[in-house]
């Protein structure tokens, strides 16, 4: 497993305290970046589910997070994570960190769920 954006990484507190600092790794418009893949991709089932979870968290009834909070948390990922995660993996990483920082879920609950899903996948 080389990347697991939803796994608690033990640096949640660091993420929160880092949020006051400036991050501009994402602000890369106009910088050399190589060729752009313009082939159309249909969203995968997993990507649709990530989007659905966001819609539920942001709806007017739950109002747990907002688009701009999610954007900021994505921008606050380390440069290394930002580059190795794909688009929706950044969403998952950012949503996980927001839910942990707002104590909607605990690190233990998240880790237990990830374990359960891994076992399901392995079985």
């Amino acid at each position: 497993m080389t990347r697991d954006p939803s796994a608690p990484d033990g640096h949640v507190g660091d993420q929160a305290s880092r949020s006051a600092e400036h991050h501009d790794h994402h602000d890369c418009g106009g910088k050399p970046a190589g060729p752009v893949d313009v082939v159309h991709h249909d969203p995968t089932y997993w990507e649709l589910r990530v989007d659905a979870v966001y819609q539920l968290l942001a709806d007017s009834r739950r109002n747990i997070l907002r688009a701009d909070e999610l954007r900021w948390m994505r921008e606050s990922l380390s440069a290394e994570d930002y580059d190795r995660f794909n688009y929706y993996e950044r969403w998952v990483a950012a949503m996980s960190r927001i839910l942990l920082s707002k104590q909607v879920v605990t690190p233990g609950e998240l880790a237990a769920k990830i374990d359960e899903i891994r076992r399901r996948g392995a079985g």
Binding site: S19, A20, H22, D27, G29, G30, R66, D68, E69, W72
Partner: protein, 98 residues
Amino acid sequence: MNARFRIGDRVDVATRHQAGHVRTPNYVKGKTGRIVDVRGAFRNPELLAQGEPGLPRQYLYRVEFDWHSLWHDGPSSCPDRIIVDIYEHWLMTAAGME
């Protein structure tokens, strides 16, 4: 509250480096552009990103830049324009236009 700028106004983009969520991309900071549309007043995303109500609302403009005012590579005859959505608190009347 009225919009400070109108279509056709020439504006400079602030150069400040601001922590947190900012929707003004680095590549337009310090550049001069032209207002091509006034989109309306919206809650400030910089404050919304921090969980605040995002007030006062900020006018949002579409600002057009000549390709060559942003990047100097490519042919000088390049007619392309780049249009960026920019909030009012990042804009000032272009130097020499007062």
